[in-house]
């Protein structure tokens, strides 16, 4: 299944990366901030909107387990992993293109 070659939003990208392990909302926010060296601060409203869209799309699902009873946890699905792989390939291409063109010019 193709993913329309669309770019993922930064929020979605960091959510999917964070959900390779089951995690709750606040954990995703902290993880995204840590991974990005403090640059990406997902606001709660944005995060909720993205999680809802990802659940509908089937890229993530609610995690089962005891921890999830207190704070709702989410985890990535196979479809989500596939989207993440394609996004990583796309990002590599972007970096390659940039480096090829910019080399020695700035």
């Amino acid at each position: 299944m193709g993913y329309e070659n669309g770019a993922l939003t930064e929020a979605v990208y960091y959510i999917l990366l964070s959900l390779l392990e089951p995690l709750h909302g606040y954990g995703i926010m902290q993880n995204a901030e840590r991974l990005s060296g403090g640059r990406v601060r997902l606001a709660a409203g944005t995060l909720y909107g993205a999680l809802t869209a990802l659940l509908e799309r089937g890229w993530i699902c609610a995690a089962q387990g005891e921890a999830s009873l207190r704070k709702k946890e989410y985890v990535i699905t196979e479809q989500g992993r596939q989207a993440l792989r394609e996004e990583l390939a796309r990002l590599r291409e972007l970096v390659r293109s940039g480096e090829t063109v910019m080399e020695g010019r700035i």
Binding site: T9, A11, G25, Y26, R41, A43, A44, L47, Y48, K72
Partner: protein, 198 residues
């Protein structure tokens, strides 16, 4: 110690309202209840909270809103008050910067929800204005060149009913459209930004 303050903010000035609540918090007065123009504050540690206002898609009691507010709670956001679809949220300042949205799409969608209320009210006003005009014409066909109904005085009716009613309605319509201008501007600015970045 509790303090009650009466203050009026229009729908287009929610950012000003938010700013005011944060200034109060900086002085050690934390909002604990709000409804329309009545604000109740509790004394506490200066600058302990950051306040934000949000217009929800549904009333706070709606299951979708309840699920959203529960989610916010899990991220340390507390709902202190609500008024119709508006919710007053706060988070401890020590937990870092507090915004509801970090992406342009959600910010634009929020602006549009606010503008939609003003549009809804404006449409209602337009319908009322049209009804007034139709009523006047039905009573006095000569307004549009029809025959004069016997025994009816046009001018007193126009001056005592139609014109004052239309003036009030039109003034309200203009007011509603004017107060929403800052939100429309913000929405446009964000949409322009959206064309070149996420």
């Amino acid at each position: 110690m509790r303090h009650v303050v009466y203050k009026c903010f229009t729908i287009g000035a929610y950012e000003k309202e938010e700013k005011w609540l944060n200034e109060m918090s900086a002085r050690g007065l934390h909002l604990i209840a709000a409804s329309a123009i009545r604000y109740e504050f509790e004394e506490g540690v200066r600058g302990e909270y950051v306040y934000r206002l949000e217009l929800l898609e549904y009333l706070p009691s709606h299951p979708e809103s309840a699920a959203y507010l529960r989610f916010l709670e899990e991220t340390g956001v507390e709902q202190v008050a609500s008024y119709l679809r508006w919710v007053y949220l706060r988070r401890k300042a020590g937990e870092g910067e507090f915004e509801i949205y970090s992406d342009l799409d959600s910010k634009i969608a929020h602006c549009k929800r606010v503008v939609a209320i003003a549009t809804g009210v404006s449409v209602l006003l337009c319908i009322t204005i049209a009804t007034q005009l139709i009523a006047a014409v039905l009573q006095y066909p000569e307004l549009i060149g029809g025959p004069v109904k016997a025994g009816k005085m046009l001018l007193p009716y126009l001056f005592s009913v139609t014109i004052p009613a239309l003036a009030v309605l039109a003034a309200t319509l203009v007011f509603v459209q004017v107060i929403i201008i800052p939100v429309r501007r913000a929405s446009k600015r964000l949409a322009a930004q959206k064309k070149i970045m996420e």
